[in-house]
């Protein structure tokens, strides 16, 4: 992946609202061609503000970003032509039908009708809305609207697609379906995707690389595996019948990084828990030990998040009041 070119390049990007509210604070990152890049963070961390700057809707206060070589501030029209956006809100016009909404988007990109009609039909097919193309969006369910937004975002065949909280408020089934669409876009069309989410499992399931953002700053960037590995790998907890010390025995086993004895049981850190666990059992059996208890814990992004931000995702979510205050301040500065 490292030889691939950078599609999005961000340097020192900053957004200050009202001269004092720092929503995004000097962030740097790059997204490579064909990658699914995720911005993970709690509400109010600066995810949407970052995406709004990248899609040229909000002007950065400081810093620079290029998409496909075009500067988001100076060559914004070129950037807009090359990107697709699936916003957080349901922006489709309720008074129009499914197909009318898609054709409206096509007109905004200046796509000739001869081309856009064919594309709209293909896209409706892709998002499985062909049967509802002449139905007013008013009657659409949340999942259908989300799919329609996706179809609108793809009408200009973007090189980069931005998805802001693509599964916010969706039920489990529709969320899984959305994940499949996202994966398909990468696999079938080699599209580069930039998405924001505050669902850890979503970032884990979809993203090739993740940037964890908190209080407007990127705290860590890496692939989900890398991030989890940075915690020191999987943890195997083990108890045996005899009280004899087996630390040395286990330490010699492949992938084992650390062995600790706590309250009569052993905490074993391994870079590959699935491989290590059977090896441990076999080694112990050969030496005449009987294993009474064994559990394997894989590190989750929640632990990664905890490590880098000092709080769990859930705690961060609970500080909603602070987020609302911040949002109101931002809204005020827009006026």
């Amino acid at each position: 992946m490292s030889e691939k070119e950078d599609i999005i390049k961000v340097e020192g990007l900053t957004k200050v609202f009202n001269h004092n509210l720092v929503a995004v604070d000097h962030i740097d990152f790059s997204v490579k061609r064909g990658e699914i890049f995720g911005f993970l963070g709690p509400n109010g961390a600066g995810k949407t503000t970052t995406i709004k700057m990248l899609i040229t809707v909000t002007r950065p206060t400081e810093g620079k970003a290029t998409i496909l070589g075009g500067d988001i501030s100076k060559q914004s029209m070129d950037v807009r032509s090359a990107i697709g956006v699936v916003p957080q809100e349901y922006t489709a016009d309720e008074d129009l039908t499914g197909i009318e909404n898609i054709l409206l988007c096509a007109d905004l990109y200046g796509i000739p009708r001869s081309v856009s009609k064919k594309r709209a039909a293909d896209l409706l097919n892709l998002v499985e809305l062909t049967a509802f193309k002449d139905t007013r969006v008013q009657t659409f369910s949340g999942g259908m609207r989300r799919r329609l937004e996706l179809a609108c975002g793809l009408i200009n065949r973007p090189k980069v697609l931005f998805l802001d909280e693509p599964t916010l408020g969706l039920d489990v089934q529709t969320r899984a379906a959305t994940w499949n669409y996202v994966k398909m876009l990468k696999q079938q069309f080699g599209m580069t995707l930039f998405l924001t989410t505050h669902y850890l499992e979503e970032a884990d399931a979809l993203c090739d690389r993740i940037a964890i953002i908190d209080h407007g700053k990127i705290v860590v960037i890496g692939s989900p595996t890398e991030l989890k590995d940075s915690l020191g790998g999987d943890i195997i907890t083990l108890s045996i019948q005899k009280t004899q010390d087996i630390t040395d025995l286990i330490s010699k086993i492949e992938h084992v990084k650390e062995v600790k004895k706590e309250n009569g049981s052993y905490m074993i850190k391994s870079s590959n828990g699935e491989l290590t666990a059977p090896l441990i059992i076999e080694a112990l059996r050969k030496n005449g030990h009987i294993v009474t208890k064994l559990s394997l814990t894989k590190p989750t992004l929640n632990e990664v998040y905890l490590l880098y931000t000092g709080k769990s995702m859930r705690d961060a979510e609970e500080s909603r009041e602070g987020v609302m205050q911040q949002r109101m301040a931002m809204a005020r500065s827009h006026r």
Binding site: I55, P87, T91, L108, Y109
Partner: protein
């Protein structure tokens, strides 16, 4: 996804698409459509017909004059009544320029339909912002001016259509046209109504460019429409107003629009300052639209 298509490089692309989106919300909803013309019809039918100023001069409204009664025969009294009644036409002509008050008033309602219609353009701007539609459009290669001009044109098309309906109803209710009236007058009325519509729609759009709350355009509507109406020649000739009100009415573009519409339709004393009316309203439209477009570059991107 490799097929390359030549996209439009026209700076105005998307203008019709966005304008038509607005218009669809109007013509596909008969209720909204009907509501838009009810208010001017009420003004026309209730105020225009009830306030029959000409009747003040009819013989029947004269009180009996006791000191003359013994000296005058009934036929002489009738003659005196007829003498006063003959003032009606003269006073109406010299004060209002029309034979009856309804014809004077109805033409100002044609212009006022435009105010009622365009004042709500701000609602759709705020609505688009709240629903996130504005952000979506801002992320596409549509020029910011086009986003604003689509609002202005959609409101103008609605306003022209509704003004035409009001004019038709005025004819049905007995509008008496002046000697200035020809078939060409109708084109002239459409032209001036188009100019004032563009000007006012731009004006109301500019006021709501930064608004994020629904209350804002409503407050503007309340605050501006009534003064705009009374500080114009809509109900009374400017010459009848106190000096301070004349000063306001004389810069109000609505006064010039109403004057043009009256001159084209109901006046009989020649076109006189008609070119000035067109020049004034045209300049207003161009200047305000330019300001609105410039503000949109500044304020649509935050």
């Amino acid at each position: 996804m490799s097929e390359e298509v030549q996209y439009s490089k026209n700076k105005l692309h998307g203008l019709w698409a966005l304008t038509n989106r607005e218009l669809k919300k109007w013509y596909q909803q008969p209720f909204v459509f009907a509501m838009g013309i009810i208010q001017p019809i009420l003004w026309l039918a209730l105020l225009g017909k009830a306030m029959n100023i000409g009747n003040l001069f009819s013989a029947s409204s004269l009180p009996p004059m006791p000191q003359l009664t013994p000296a005058l025969t009934p036929s002489q009294l009738q003659g005196l009544g007829a003498y006063f009644a003959s003032f009606q036409g003269t006073v109406m002509q010299s004060t209002f320029g029309t034979a009856d008050y309804f014809s004077f008033m109805a033409m100002s309602m044609v212009a006022f339909t435009v105010v009622f219609t365009t004042a709500f353009v701000g609602m759709s701007v705020v609505w688009d912002k709240r629903l996130g539609f504005m952000n979506k459009v801002l992320s596409t290669p549509v020029s910011r001016s086009v986003i604003i001009l689509s609002k202005v044109f959609a409101a103008s098309i609605r306003a022209i259509f509704q003004a035409a309906i009001v004019a038709a109803i005025a004819f049905a209710l007995g509008l008496s046209t002046g000697t200035n009236f020809t078939v060409w007058s109708i084109f002239g009325v459409f032209a001036i109504v188009f100019l004032i519509s563009v000007g006012l729609a731009s004006f109301f759009t500019a006021l709501t460019l930064r608004a994020t709350r629904m209350e804002m355009p409503q407050a503007i509507f309340q605050l501006i429409t009534l003064p705009l109406m009374f500080a114009s020649s809509a109900y009374f000739p400017i010459a009848q107003m106190p000096n301070w009100l004349q000063a306001i009415a004389n810069v109000n573009p609505i006064s010039y629009t109403i004057d043009a519409v009256r001159r084209l339709m109901v006046f009989s004393d020649g076109f006189g300052p008609l070119p000035l009316d067109f020049a004034y309203v045209g300049t207003f439209a161009v200047v305000v639209t330019a300001i609105c477009v410039i503000l949109s570059w500044r304020y649509l991107n935050k």
